[in-house]
């Protein structure tokens, strides 16, 4: 019964080695999908390349279907998984700030690390920026704390928040993703091509 390490099926000593291997595959997939290129990433916001949308939403749909299916079959207990906590103000305001950072810098942190690995100097500067950003947040923590800790709703899922049936949520989410892919292809044909 999963998760394996928390339930002691795999000894906790393996944690760090598994972390490196998982990171390695993560980095490989992101780089091979073209996420080390800021101009490819930014394409999603101007309609000339929708790789971000397609990779991101395919991954989200596949993972949520797989996790709930494994739970249904009894291989994995969804109740034991770590659910990212919901702090209403932080999630929204932090997200808005990250959105501006995304369109200004052309990377998100995971993709910038991939670009660092293949020698993109703009990504090195971007990661230096992330370090400065984290430093500013920490130094002025008392100022940011109301945002960081405000409106805590717990480690809730959409099932807890709205009382929705998880299987319907996943089904509708997948339908939305497929519609988004179709619309993306239509938009892409109408937008002027950008070569990079």
């Amino acid at each position: 019964m999963g998760p394996l390490i928390p339930n002691g099926v795999i000894p906790a000593d393996w944690d760090s080695i598994i972390a490196i291997l998982i990171g390695l595959v993560f980095g490989f997939i992101l780089e091979a999908s073209g996420f080390s290129s800021s101009r490819k990433l930014a394409g999603v916001f101007y309609g000339y390349d929708f790789a971000v949308l397609k990779v991101f939403f395919t991954a989200a749909a596949v993972s949520v279907i797989g996790i709930y299916y494994m739970d249904y079959l009894g291989y994995l207990d969804v109740g034991q998984l770590y659910v990212h906590p919901t702090y209403l103000k932080g999630a929204i305001i932090g997200g808005v700030i990250m959105g501006v950072g995304f369109i200004a810098g052309g990377f998100c942190p995971g993709t910038s690390l991939c670009a660092v690995a293949i020698g993109k100097l703009d990504a090195w500067i971007y990661v230096a920026g992330i370090i400065v950003g984290v430093f500013i947040f920490s130094e002025f923590f008392t100022f940011f704390e109301p945002l960081y800790a405000g409106d805590f709703l717990g480690n809730v899922t959409l099932v807890d928040s709205f009382g929705w049936n998880p299987y319907w949520v996943i089904f509708i989410f997948s339908i939305i993703a497929i519609i988004a892919f179709v619309v993306a292809d239509i938009v892409r044909k109408r937008v002027k091509k950008v070569f990079y």
Partner: protein, 176 residues
């Protein structure tokens, strides 16, 4: 075709293929460890370590750094730091296999490298700040959050993409 692949460095995977494999990796990660992927967590541990080395009393007095400092254990000894090292290795391998390793500044021909680097620095600062306020970035909060239907994960994902689309107009000169 093979000749074309050799000269064109921008031959990437089909996005659905990449997305499918990434989804499988997320399932595997949750199945093994009970939690998702991340990217900023490792960088944060790096910042905490540097501040703790340079100014230990300052780090202990600060309410944020002190959350991550435990006596006798380096903040670098964390799952996300090892995972971050893995990301760098994995991306380097993929880049090597496709001849994409090269020192360069990538930018639109319409702007200078200097402008690109300044915007990269500003974007990084904002992303670093925002990821701490939201307790995670596109990987840790949005992608891993959505995989377990976290309400906060969905909110952060909508906020990131919504705000990037909203502000895209002002940054268009940098990209198109």
């Amino acid at each position: 075709m093979s000749e074309q692949n050799k000269t064109n460095f921008h031959v990437y995977w089909n996005p659905y293929y990449g997305g499918f494999l990434l989804g499988i990796l997320i399932i595997f990660t949750f199945y093994i460890t009970g939690r998702g992927l991340g990217a900023t967590g490792g960088i944060k541990s790096g910042v905490v370590t540097i501040v703790d080395e340079v100014a230990p009393t300052h780090a202990e007095d600060n309410a944020y750094y002190s959350k991550f400092i435990h006596k006798g254990e380096s903040p670098l000894n964390s799952w996300l730091v090892f995972e971050t090292l893995g990301i760098l290795i994995g991306a380097f391998i993929s880049g090597s296999l496709n001849n994409r390793i090269k020192w360069r500044v990538q930018h639109s021909p319409k702007i200078t490298s200097r402008r690109r680097l300044l915007f990269a620095l500003g974007g990084g600062i904002l992303f670093g700040l925002g990821s701490q306020i939201a307790r995670g970035c596109t990987s840790g909060a949005a992608l891993s959050g959505m995989a377990v239907l976290s309400t906060g994960g969905f909110l952060t994902m909508l906020s990131i993409f919504g705000s990037a689309y909203l502000f895209a107009y002002f940054f268009r000169k940098n990209w198109i």
